[in-house]
Amino acid sequence: MAETRAGYFGAYGGRYVPETLMAPLESLTIAYDKVSRRRDFKQQLAALLNHYAGRPTPLYEAERLSDQLGGARIFLKREDLLHTGAHKLNNALGQALLARAMGKGRVIAETGAGQHGVATATAAALLGLECTVYMGEEDMRRQRPNVYRMELLGARVAGVDSGSRTLKDAINESLRDWVTNVSGTHYVLGSVLGPEPYPRMVRDFQKVIGEEARRQLKKQSRRADPDLAIACVGGGSNALGLFSAFIREPKVRLIGVEAGGAGEELGQHAARFKGGRLGVLHGTRTWLLQDEDGQIAATHSVSAGLDYPAIGPEHALMHEQGRVEYTAISDAEAVAAFHRLAETEGILPALESAHAVAEAIRRAPGLSSDRTVLVNLSGRGDKDLESVREYDAAHRAEGDGVGEAAE
C-alpha cells in the first residue's frame, strides 16, 4: 500500500527507539521479509487460519438492522466469530510462527481490551512458546474475563500500575521487557503501531479480512465493492486489514472511527485526528494526543481497545491524503449501538466494534437501498458485559436514558 521510504508512510513511521533495539529490529525486518515470502510459511499460516482459527469468517447481511434504519444494506464482516473472539488472532498467529522461525522461545505482548493478549497467549500455547502479557491495571479491572482466559492459556499476566494504567503503559512496559530480554524474546505488537517493520507487518497479517470480505461481498451482493467500508481505529489494525482490499478503488469511501469518549477536552477521548498533532511515541512518528510541552495526554474511552493516544502511522498518511475519512463516536453512541445490534440481530459486538456499528447506524438512513455499507465487526462483546452494565447503571442513575434500546 502506502509505504514510501523504507519504514515510512510519507512523513510518518520510522524507528524511534533506543539503540539497543535497533539491531534486533533490523534482524526482525530481514526475517519477516524473508520468512513471510516462503511458501511453507504461507501454507502453515493459511492452514492455521483455516483449520484452527476458523477462517474464512462469515460475511453477514444485517437485514433487520438495515430495515429498521431504512436505508443502505449493511454487511458485517464477522471477525467476532474468529477463534478467541477478535481479529487479533490473525496477527498473533502470524507473528508467533515468525518468532518460532527466528528461534525465539519466548513472546511478550501488550494488551488493552485483552483480546490481543488472549490471541497471543493462544498462539503461544499452540506453538509451545513461553508468554508474558502486559496489561494496565485499569484494563485488568474492566476486562476481567480476559485476564483469567490468558492465565488459563498458560500466559503470565503482568499488571502495569504506572501512568494511566491502560494500553499506553502496557506498551511502555513491553518495550522495557523487550529491551532487557531481546536476544531470546519476540515482541508480538498487537496493532499497526510501533517501529518499522511492525506497522506494515501487522497490516499484512490482517489483510485477509478485506480480501475475504471482497470475495464474499461479490458473491452475496453481486458487487465486490461497497459504497462505504467502516472500521473502528484503536492503533488501526482491523481498519487497515479491511481497507487494504479497497484502497485502490476510489469509489469505495473508507471511514475510520475513533473513540469520541466522554467529551471534546483533552483527556476525555482518544480521537487523535480531532485533538492531536504530530509527535513521536512508542517508536513511531504519527498523530498523538499530547499537551503543549510534548507530554503524552491521558485518554478516555469506554472501550479499552480504543483508549490509546497514538494512531498507526499509515493512518496518518491516509488522513493527510484524504483517502480515509476519520470520525469519532462517543461512549454513549457506542453503548447504544451495542444494545441495538444485540436486540435486532442477536449479536453482542465488542465495544470497540460497536463504534463502527454506530457509524453505520448514523450513515445508513441517508443512503438509498441499493447502496451497501461494509462494517468490520472486529470482535465479540463477551468481555464487555461488565463495562456495559457499569456504564448503563451510571447513566441510568443520571437519568439520561442511555442503555434503553435506541429504537
Binding site: 524511534y16 533506543p18 539503540e19 539491531a23 522495557r176 511515541l281 507530554q295
Partner: protein, 277 residues
C-alpha cells in the same frame, strides 16, 4: 555561545581528564525532581562533589528506556509542573554559578513539540552543552536534528549498545560530537548490584572502534563499579543510585548527594590508569 560552550567545552573536559589519565565522572539527575529549585541546588552539589560533566534528565511521561527509579523521578518532576522551558531557565541560572558542562538526557517528543530548530537555539542560549536523545537513533537524527544542534554548536551524543553491530557503532561515532555513550547492559536504566559479566571486555572492544571518548552508563551504582569501569572507559555515568537519594531526601537531597558523589568519584581521583591501550 561563540565557541565557549557546547561541543568544545565537552572536548575540553575529556582532554583534561585524559591528561590526568583518569575517566570523567558523570552524575545524572532528573530535572524538576522533586522541583527545579532543588535541581539547581543539586547541580551545585554535583559540581562541588567532583562532577566533570552533568547529565540532566528532561522528564517525560512515557520513559521507555528507564527503570522504576527514573520513572518515579519523572512522575515527581512532572507533578511539580516541570516543563522543558523551565528546565532550560534553570540551566541558565546554574551555568552562571557553576562551570561544569551540562548534557540533556531526553526523549524526542518534547523536543519535537517545541520544534527542533527552536529547541536547539534555546538550549544553546541557556548554556546547555550537548544533547542525548534516547529514542533518536542515528537514522532518525540525520537531517534536521543534527543540522540544528550542529548549527548551535551543541554536542550530539549517541548511544552504542551491546547489540550494536560494527556498522551501527561506526555510524553512531560519525554523527557524534562530544562523546559516545555505551549502554552497559541490554535493558533499562536502574541501579544494579553487579556489572554485566562481559562489560569490561565489551567496553575495551568498542573503545577501539570509536574516535570519540567513550562514556559508560546504565547500572553503575557503587564506587567499586566506578573504579572497574573507569579503568577502561573515558567516562563513567552514575544515575539511578543518585536519583534514589533524591527520592529519599527530597528537597534536602543536596547534602547526601554531594557526599555520595564524593564517595563515588573518589576511585577516579586516586587510581590513575595506565596508557590508553
Amino acid at each position: 555561545m561563540s565557541g565557549l560552550g557546547g561541543t568544545s567545552e565537552i572536548d575540553r573536559v575529556f582532554d583534561s581528564c585524559r591528561a590526568l589519565r583518569r575517566a570523567a565522572f558523570v552524575p545524572y539527575v532528573t530535572a524538576g525532581d522533586p522541583d527545579l529549585e532543588t535541581t539547581l541546588e543539586l547541580i551545585g552539589a554535583l559540581a562541588d562533589g567532583g562532577a566533570d560533566l552533568i547529565e540532566l534528565g528532561v522528564p517525560f511521561s512515557d520513559p521507555i528506556a528507564d527503570g522504576p527509579v527514573n520513572q518515579r523521578a519523572a512522575v515527581r518532576a512532572l507533578a511539580s509542573g516541570t516543563t522543558l522551558s523551565g528546565v532550560l531557565r534553570m540551566v541558565s541560572s546554574a551555568r552562571q554559578r557553576w562551570s561544569v558542562p551540562i548534557v540533556l538526557f531526553t526523549y524526542f517528543n518534547p523536543i519535537l513539540a517545541r520544534g527542533v530548530a527552536h529547541f536547539a537555539s534555546q538550549a544553546a542560549a541557556s548554556g546547555v552543552d550537548g544533547v542525548l536523545t534516547l529514542d533518536l537513533p542515528p537514522e532518525e537524527a540525520s537531517g534536521e536534528y543534527i543540522d540544528a544542534l550542529r548549527a548551535n554548536e551543541l554536542a550530539t551524543v549517541f548511544l552504542v549498545a551491546p547489540t550494536s553491530t560494527r556498522a551501527r557503532i561506526r555510524r553512531a561515532d560519525e554523527l557524534t560530537r562530544g562523546f559516545v555513550y555505551y549502554v552497559a547492559r541490554t535493558g533499562v536504566t536502574g541501579d544494579r548490584r553487579e556489572l554485566a559479566p562481559e562489560l569490561l571486555k565489551q567496553v575495551k572492544a568498542v573503545r577501539r572502534k570509536v574516535r570519540h571518548p567513550l562514556a559508560v552508563g546504565f547500572g553503575i551504582s557503587t564506587p567499586e563499579h566506578v573504579a572497574e569501569v573507569g579503568s577502561v572507559a573515558d567516562g563513567v555515568v552514575v544515575g539511578s543510585a543518585l536519583v534514589r537519594l533524591v527520592e529519599e531526601h527530597g528537597r534536602d537531597a543536596a547534602g547526601p548527594v554531594a557526599e555520595a558523589v564524593r564517595r563515588l568519584s573518589e576511585p577516579l581521583r586516586t587510581a590513575r590508569r595506565g596508557r590508553r591501550s
